[in-house]
Symmetry: C2
Subunit: 344 residues, 2 copies
């Protein structure tokens, strides 16, 4: 009954400390896997199709204690979000042949014991890879962060950093659909063009070309910023704080500029919080998944009507996964970074 | 009809830059004042009784542009909150003999043209000086900051910095009355004793005696902090951030440690905002005065039943006002700093 096959895997060599991760921190190896779920388990066995590269994974490469993000286990395949096909199931929610998205391993096939956390893919008339992004965790992050945390109103001034990333590109388009004025920043000319020409941002700029971020923001927001969707942290946050308008809101989604530093940069302009009565709020998408059906109801028609564009940067093959993940931290990717393990 | 009298005044010598203000930045002089309100005005003339020394006044000593706090005018009496007796009125809200509190001048007598901003004192069976503190702006600051911004729940862990000040001492007592665990910090043994023995805080510590603020907070909050009432900023905020619990709230009332610095200190631990899903919110009491009647309804019985204690540091005479104000920034005062101009 049981079929044992080769299983290519990406494993963490060892925990890393501060600094940028390297491709060599991840090792490709071949292991064996039994494609049947053991009796007594309520898990599933899946064939992985698409894997998602996300900034939070950097934190899991470091040994942490008491952190929200559980560290990876050295010498084991790293885990992350992905799209997969169920090959065998002892879980009543899923049957053989189902498409799912959720937490899986960076390998060709995975045993998922905690299958209750997986989402069944009901709509497959869109690219399946979208479930690593627009229709998955990043999409829900953009949705919950913008609508639930930012409390946006029509015609407000919205600024998004790392705006061409998986989350940023969607926040900007949600904000435009609501009737906001939207400016994004990114780290290359190509990304800036994408923001303006593909995603419909009102303005966009390359932060690497700006010597004075405070002045740059003042140029794009002469009347100040109502909503800042924070993906970057550090100097960028500092420059934003002095440009915020009274009662402005900062949704803190991530601080990618800080993840590789030994000690995070100091942010100096926090007294702005008082006089401007700012609200700075962190959030994690994991607390908003009860809104997923509502989100799909809004976003699926937008996709089909062409009202939302979505750009992916696709790496082909599991072997390309380490470079794809590491590239996130130098901003090499353009759009959502996905790894194609198999197209079936 | 008009009576002209001598009027002692405290005037700002000139705008100051960064650094601690000095007594010599304020000058005492004698001017003349007509004790009648001019025809066509809807102002009042008052005799000032008590003047309030508040940290935000530091910012008004510097020339600022576009700040929420309007700068003082050099060579003119500085202004601040105080308690006064109406001597003459052309404003329909007030009549001769009324007691009021609100924005007045640092002088014996003041013409107040914007009298609509004054509050009439209806309850004079409590010490009148309380209207510069417990029953005035600091009281409303504590009330709105704690109940409206912090969204406190019974049994939560509450930390207050600058806890023996006008606002801090009240926040701590409100939190105790709600059934929270309350710890405060202050800058001397005497203040720490006050917090524990007079205001009923569960614990208190002298931050000047702590080499490692992160460790100090961990000692008092082994399970972390739910609510931080922020009066200090800088290093203290940094230490608090790593000690916050998930879904913790930081009400940013003030950052007194930063007001005299050329460049504010950097705060490094802001990534805590994400994983812990913190809400950091600034507020200004001026947006909550519609709650003043509700506040009085709660707090007046507490005072009469002895459930709230209140400590003032009283400077006698207008001549003592410059030293009293400057002393705030070295923490010389114990409790709310008040200047008695006249006891009538």
């Amino acid at each position: 009954m049981s079929e044992v096959v080769n299983n290519k895997q990406i494993v963490l060599k060892d925990y890393i400390g501060a600094g940028f991760p390297k491709e060599s921190d991840l090792i490709t190896r071949v292991s064996k896997i039994n494609l049947s779920v053991a009796e007594g388990s309520n898990g599933v066995v899946v064939k992985n199709l698409y894997l998602s590269c996300d900034p939070y994974m950097r934190m899991r490469m470091t040994k942490t204690q008491g952190s929200y993000f559980e560290s990876f286990t050295p010498h084991q395949p790293i885990t992350g979000l992905g799209v997969a096909r169920v090959l065998d199931s002892k879980n009543q929610k899923f049957k053989k042949g189902d498409l799912v998205w959720g937490m899986t391993g960076w390998e060709e096939y995975s045993h998922i014991t905690n299958a209750d956390g997986l989402f069944k893919i009901e709509h497959s008339d869109v690219p399946l890879s979208y479930y690593t992004g627009l229709l998955g965790m990043p999409g829900m992050t953009a949705y919950s962060g913008f609508y639930e945390v930012c409390a946006p109103k029509k015609a407000e001034y919205v600024y998004i950093s790392a705006a061409s990333g998986a989350v940023g590109q969607l926040v900007g388009q949600f904000a435009k659909l609501l009737g906001c004025y939207v400016v994004g920043s990114a780290g290359s000319k190509e990304k800036v063009n994408l923001l303006k020409n593909k995603f419909g941002f009102d303005e966009a700029f390359n932060y690497k070309e700006e010597e004075d971020l405070v002045a740059a923001l003042k140029r794009y927001f002469p009347d100040g910023i109502d909503i800042y969707f924070e993906n970057v942290g550090g100097k960028m946050l500092d420059a934003v704080l002095v440009n915020m308008r009274p009662h402005g809101r900062v949704a803190v989604c991530g601080m990618i500029s800080q993840y590789n530093l030994e000690k995070p940069e100091g942010v100096h302009n926090l007294t702005s919080i008082i006089a401007k009565r700012l609200r700075i709020q962190g959030f994690l998408v994991s607390e908003y998944y009860h809104l997923y059906p509502k989100f799909l109801e809004m976003v699926l028609p937008y996709i089909k009507e062409g009202k939302i564009n979505y750009v992916e940067d696709t790496a082909e093959g599991l072997e390309s996964a380490p470079a794809a993940l590491i590239g996130l931290f130098s901003g090499r990717n353009i759009g959502k970074q996905v790894v194609v393990v198999a197209r079936e």
